[in-house]
Amino acid sequence: MSTGLIFAGTGAILFAMGVAGVMLLAHLLRRILAFNLMGSGAFLILIGLAQRAGLVDPVPQAMVLTGIVVSVAATALALALTRRLHKLTGAYTLPATRDD
């Protein structure tokens, strides 16, 4: 098994864990961390699969860099909203939805 595939396999596991975390966890901070895990998993796969014949492909590196910027922005937004929600309701979990 090449190092690339090991990276990719790890990435897939991380991604699956992340998705499960975002969907199943209640605490908002944990969900945000899970989202970051998800993103890292995807980046690992991108880097890992793109290794061909030992040569490093620069394009996925650039993509991952962009992706990291995006996920930093998303994390910041999520943190800001969480802080605000905590200030208003005192809770770190989402209130139950009203069914109407």
Partner: protein, 484 residues
Amino acid sequence: MTEFFDPLAWLILLPLFWASGAFLLGPTRGARLAIVGVAAQLWLAIDLAVKVGDGGTAIRHAVGGWGAPLGIDLIADGLAAAMLLLTHMVALPLLLYARGYFAADASVARYFWPLSGFLLAGLNALFLAADLFNLYVTLEIVGLAAVGLVAAGGNATQIAAGLRYLFATLIGSGMYLLGVALIYGAYGTVSIATLTPLINASAASAVWIAAALMLLGLMLKTALFPFHYWLPPAHGGAPAPVSALLSALVVKASFYLILRLWLGPFAPLTGTIAWLPALLGSAAILWGSWQAIRAVRLKMLVAYSTIAQLGYLFLIFPLLGPDGLALQAGGMQVVAHGLAKAAMFAAAGAMIHVTGRDAVADVAGVASRMPVSLFAFALAGVTLMGLPPSGGFLAKWLLIDAALTQGQWWLVAVIIAGGLLAAIYVFRVLRQAFLVPAQGERRHLSHRAPPLLEWTAFTLAAASVLLGLRGVDLLRLLAVGSGP
């Protein structure tokens, strides 16, 4: 120097400029800047649509003079030009509307103007992008700006709706990104044009997984049943101009992407499962309409109607054929629903603004106090019900025609039933509005409706109906370079 004035680049740059400007200048001057900017963009979009429609070929732009594979390509074919035109036809009235709506509320407006600029920049970039990774970035820009807009109101319900929406959209784009990674791993490229001839039915299983992940992620972002859970609180809870932008445009962006992928690179993979989106779409129509029928709050009714109307878009997949009827139906429905839903949220917002209450029961007597808003709501309703002469009617006609041509009777039944269910929830509101309230109940109809709110809603509604008379032009535009 002709390159410098290329409308494709300016459609993305202009909103970025005025969004930053609005952030620095504050809500009052920022609003003016934004409206001037969107007016200029509308002009660019019209110009582009005319050029593409008349020229009959797609228009390209290599950003900074660097084309693919190293740089970024922007491509405007008929579908993209139509989406850009729709975006700005909806955005300009809505920004004017927002100026009236937020006049008394500077705290929300402070966020609204910059965020709507970033939203439009993201949308425009998304419609023009030609590679899968750029599409990911634009999807995220759109998603984050939309979440910001939902939460901009700042109360706990809106923040919670924003967070719920944020996690949904992040999972959706995460799945999309994973798909992109797998595709890049398999083919070493993310350019849609390069990929399309490479992918065929005997592709590696990683490609199948990639396609499944990307389409599922996008369906989640389009709020297709049963992934719709995040939409009603987000669209029903946000301020009216935001709900209108989101329902009319943002969900269409991810649908646009599904359509691109389905018709382009993934076409060889999707043939056997085309019934699945149609099945989910049918469920969305029935479930969304049913929820709209029993919704207590007016904006929730409109939000659930969005879920139902998005369902129609997914009915086209098993019907896509050489006659192009289904694709035309889809394009027509996207535009008609975009205009109508923006109008409906705007009208509902105006009614809530004046009555100060948001239950369906509270619109009683609106017919005599706010006839223009009610008219706007009714005209938008005509489009949603698919009654003539609206654009929604033409979409429904084309869809039924396509379904009959292919012998898919169950789809015909769903479409007809969906129209009747829409009539129930639309007339539920109209009926209430025509009721003369009992003498003691004239309480909260104290102040007059701001004309700006009423007439912008009316303009959008009238456009959605009059689209029915310009069907030929829209279909001609959509036909340009459709397919990869």
